[in-house]
């Protein structure tokens, strides 16, 4: 008797399961891609192209201030020029974005455009996105002009070398400020008489001397040199600087031979070992903050904001908040200068090495798109110079004026940008750049002016503190960037950036994570240990990584990276 309900329920469930599966396949048949099919209906009348049409778009990028009714001045101009209205829905978090993409794939409910970052393959796997090659060939003359040779970097894979998306990252982007490097308080640099800061030894001497002269800073005990190892931030502040100081640019945890494209985990390399030997030495002579490996991010920020940390090895964005606090308190001497410090003189700090166009992500048109031809024409228009100026600078006379043939932003737009977080929502400027096809800050238009309106050297000069200018002048330069080896001293990285490589094998991800976590555990012990035990402990660390499957992880990664690079050539 007791079993009965369960039997019935199981039967019901099985039936429900079968019934539930059926509709998944259903939506695949309607609305086939109309790239060729629509040819006879073609009219060359412009009015047809300007008929109002609304495209729905989903983006996994979050946006707290969406231009949701497409009503900003820039949006209105786009509408005027193309007839297109965009209805953009943004993800609320990266996890939620991924879930939504999976739901779309399962239900067949796609908007017209999807920006899926590295997870677009979810839609590609169910054939939900359109091949764009023919459409671009037919209607995309501006798109082709826009990308030039870099259009190869949009191709999907070696097995399927078609184009499924356009846009994504900026084309022709160059950093205007160093993002990585070793930081020393400007007060220290000044007091020490602008010493040459090139190698770890120089850096160490500078810290040592300044610390000896100033055991306290702002009435608190000074901290000569501090690191942060709070979970993933370990990679940013402990692991990455080792990679940079040995002459590699940001490739995540990898070192990639640019000629052969052979990959190795950078933490296995000899020079990197020497970097950690230096850290160990710094700890030994009492210059490393003993809390380096235990402090949490907010404690670290609080320390920096107090102005007592003399030197750092961090990324700009990670110390942005405490540095803002320092500036607000007028502790300008405690603000940091950026120096391209490396292991020895033979190594060049490669922060400005160009990755080339990072074409791994972009906007896809789905097969539910009402009118793929109009869609591609819309993107084609977005690639014109007119559109690029509109999306970067705003509307002429409203946001910028032309003086002596040069575009000049109105002061109120600049002010708004500095004071109102919703300025993009209100003006529409920069709202339709990324992830649409967009030029980066190193590209000039036909009149020789930069497309970029804000992220320019002039803007940085305006932002720099008087003390920064003083220090920079003493080194004979105007910007921090100029202290670094410039991008033309390095070859363009053929593989883009290793951190952009998508590995979807869960087993690989698990193994990679395991190897990473071994570092989280063992590197602190190596650095904080006795110098005499350094070599033995480093050996132990190498062995632990090997035992965790390092060879296999490297091999797999190298395979994917090489394939992608081949695709891009």
């Amino acid at each position: 008797m007791k079993k009965n309900p369960f039997v019935i329920i199981s039967i019901l469930l099985v039936i429900a399961l079968i019934a539930g599966c059926a509709p998944i396949q259903a939506p695949q048949s309607p609305s086939t891609p109309s790239s060729q099919g629509s040819a006879p209906a073609q009219t060359d009348v412009q009015t047809d192209d300007l008929k109002p049409i609304t495209f729905k778009m989903y983006s996994v990028e979050t946006d707290a201030y969406p231009d949701s009714d497409f009503s900003s001045p820039v949006a209105k101009e786009i509408q005027k020029a193309t007839g297109v209205t965009l209805e953009i829905e943004n993800a609320v978090s990266s996890d939620a974005g991924l879930q939504k993409l999976s739901l779309m794939a399962a239900s067949g409910d796609y908007p017209d455009f999807v920006y899926g970052k590295g997870d677009l393959n979810i839609l590609k796997n169910v054939d939900a996105i359109l091949k764009l090659d023919d459409l671009i060939e037919q209607y995309g003359s501006n798109i082709k002009k826009f990308y030039g040779d870099d259009i190869k970097r949009l191709r999907w894979s070696l097995d399927d070398p078609s184009i499924y998306y356009i846009g994504g990252k900026e084309l022709g982007q160059e950093n205007m400020e160093p993002n990585a490097g070793f930081q020393l308080q400007l007060g220290a640099v000044k007091e020490l008489g602008y010493p040459r800061l090139r190698t770890l030894e120089d850096f160490e001497n500078a810290i040592k001397t300044y610390y000896a002269n100033h055991p306290t800073l702002y009435d608190q005990k000074a901290i000569p040199f501090s690191l942060l190892a709070d979970d993933w931030r370990f990679m940013i502040t402990v692991s990455n600087p080792a990679n940079f100081a040995t002459g590699n640019s940001d490739d995540g945890e990898w070192y990639i031979d640019l000629k052969t494209l052979d990959c190795v985990r950078h933490l296995t390399r000899e020079p990197v070992k020497e970097y950690f030997r230096w850290l160990n030495h710094m700890n030994d002579i009492g210059l490393l903050d003993p809390e380096s490996f235990v402090q949490k991010y907010d404690q670290y920020k609080a320390k920096i904001a107090s102005g007592r940390v003399i030197a750092l090895a961090d990324a700009r964005w990670e110390i942005d908040e405490p540095v803002t606090a320092l500036k607000k308190d007028g502790k300008y001497e405690a603000v940091y200068g950026y120096f391209p410090i490396t292991l020895d003189e033979s190594v060049k700090f490669a922060d400005f090495q160009s990755t080339g166009y990072l074409g791994g992500w972009g906007l896809a048109i789905t097969k539910n798109c009402k009118d793929p031809v109009r869609a591609i024409k819309f993107f084609d228009w977005m690639c014109t110079e007119e559109a690029q100026i509109l999306t970067h600078w705003g509307v002429k006379d409203l946001h910028y004026t032309i003086e002596n043939g040069k575009r000049v932003l109105k002061q109120e737009v600049k002010d708004m940008r500095n004071s109102d977080p919703a300025w993009q929502q209100k003006t529409g400027i920069k709202k339709y750049c990324y992830p649409f096809p967009t030029y980066g800050n190193a590209v000039k238009d036909s009149t020789g002016q930069y497309f970029e309106a804000f992220d320019t050297l002039d803007a940085i000069a305006e932002r720099q503190l008087p003390i920064e200018n003083e220090v920079l002048a003493a080194y004979g330069v105007k910007y921090w960037k100029e202290l670094y080896p410039q991008s033309d001293e390095f070859p363009v990285k053929p593989h883009g950036a290793a951190w952009l490589v998508n590995m979807d094998d869960p087993e690989w991800i698990a193994a990679d994570d395991r190897i990473l976590k071994i570092g989280y555990q063992m590197i602190p012990a190596i650095v904080m240990g006795k110098p005499s035990e350094f070599d033995a402990k480093w050996e132990e660390y190498q062995k632990a990584m090997k035992d965790a499957g390092l060879d296999w992880v490297t091999e797999q990664f190298e395979k994917v990276l090489k394939e992608r690079t081949k695709l891009w050539q």
Binding site: A64, V92, S306, W317, D320, E321, A325, F454
Partner: protein, 288 residues
């Protein structure tokens, strides 16, 4: 005497340890966000400001989202309570033939759920996407609530129903006049469960109504503000640098101000139902 001293110290410590985090949250939410980075804020803001709140309320769609949130909480709670208790009443009756089967069926859903994708497809095929009803209908009956209510009803003497019947009451009269009023403690508890759930939920908005601005809820909008404040810190890794300059309000402060905005309404309601809340929870557990 010593016992009392120990007792009071312990109790005070307990109060402090539960109250302190919340006061800390309020303090940080009222403190200047750049100043907060320096750390060391306890329960009194160092540099008082309302800017963090201003930031949250700058969002365009916040006003409508508050209305939707209140509407869904009120409607969802009223309809939810009504349907759950009616179902509970039916399965508490011994003369209901399929009582056991239906109960098992309900309990089963507590162990086995449909999963995200089937649920999404069900909702979509029912045409509930971008529809206010999606906040109400799926949560109308929850097995857990029904079971709690049924246990409570089981503990009421059956004679009450019998005598009412003798006096000529039909099933509806018995339910609304006798059972429902007697269940107040349980009903209050369940109402609070449902209301808190409704008030806090944002994921359903995201899944089903994210593209419809007229239907977004407060929690969803807050979530959006929080996450974009968070992600702007990482923007740099992914290239779009112009977000960074906008980041004058730190995610920390935003998060705290948001927590306050999101919890205050619940905090105001709680004292009024608290006495039922504790009673209801224990009453459902032990039958006397």
């Amino acid at each position: 005497m010593i016992f009392h001293i120990c007792n009071y110290t312990l109790m005070i410590l307990l109060c402090v340890s539960t109250l302190y985090p919340f006061l800390n949250v309020i303090a940080i939410s009222l403190n200047d966000s750049v100043d907060t980075i320096k750390g060391g804020i306890t329960i009194i803001p160092r540099e008082f400001t309302l800017l963090n709140y201003a930031e949250i309320f700058k969002s365009k769609s916040l006003a409508t989202s508050v209305i939707i949130s209140v509407l869904r909480t009120v409607t969802g709670t009223v309809t939810g309570i009504l349907s759950s208790s009616m179902v509970a009443y039916v399965i508490s009756r011994n003369d209901f033939i399929a009582k056991k089967f239906v109960t098992v069926l309900f309990i089963l859903t507590m162990y086995v759920s449909g999963g995200l994708i089937p649920e999404y497809m069900l909702i979509r095929n029912l045409g509930l996407n971008n529809n206010f009803l999606v906040y109400i209908l799926p949560g109308l009956i929850s097995a857990f609530n029904v079971i709690v209510l049924r246990s409570f009803m089981d503990s009421l003497p059956f004679e009450l129903q019998e005598s009412a019947k003798l006096d000529g009451a039909n099933d509806f009269t018995v339910f609304f006049r006798i059972i429902f009023p007697l269940c107040t403690p349980a009903i209050a508890t369940i109402s609070l469960f449902i209301a808190v759930g409704q008030w806090n939920s944002w994921f359903d908005t995201y899944l089903y109504c994210g593209s419809n601005r007229a239907l977004t809820t407060l929690q969803y909008e807050l979530q959006k503000i929080l996450l974009s404040a968070q992600s702007s810190g990482q923007q740099d890794i992914y290239g779009s640098a112009d977000m960074i300059s906008q980041k004058r309000i730190s995610p920390e402060s935003i998060r705290m101000a948001m927590t306050v905005v999101a919890t205050l309404p619940i905090l105001f309601v709680y004292p009024f139902v608290q006495k039922y809340f504790i009673k209801g929870l224990t009453l459902g557990a032990v039958k006397t």
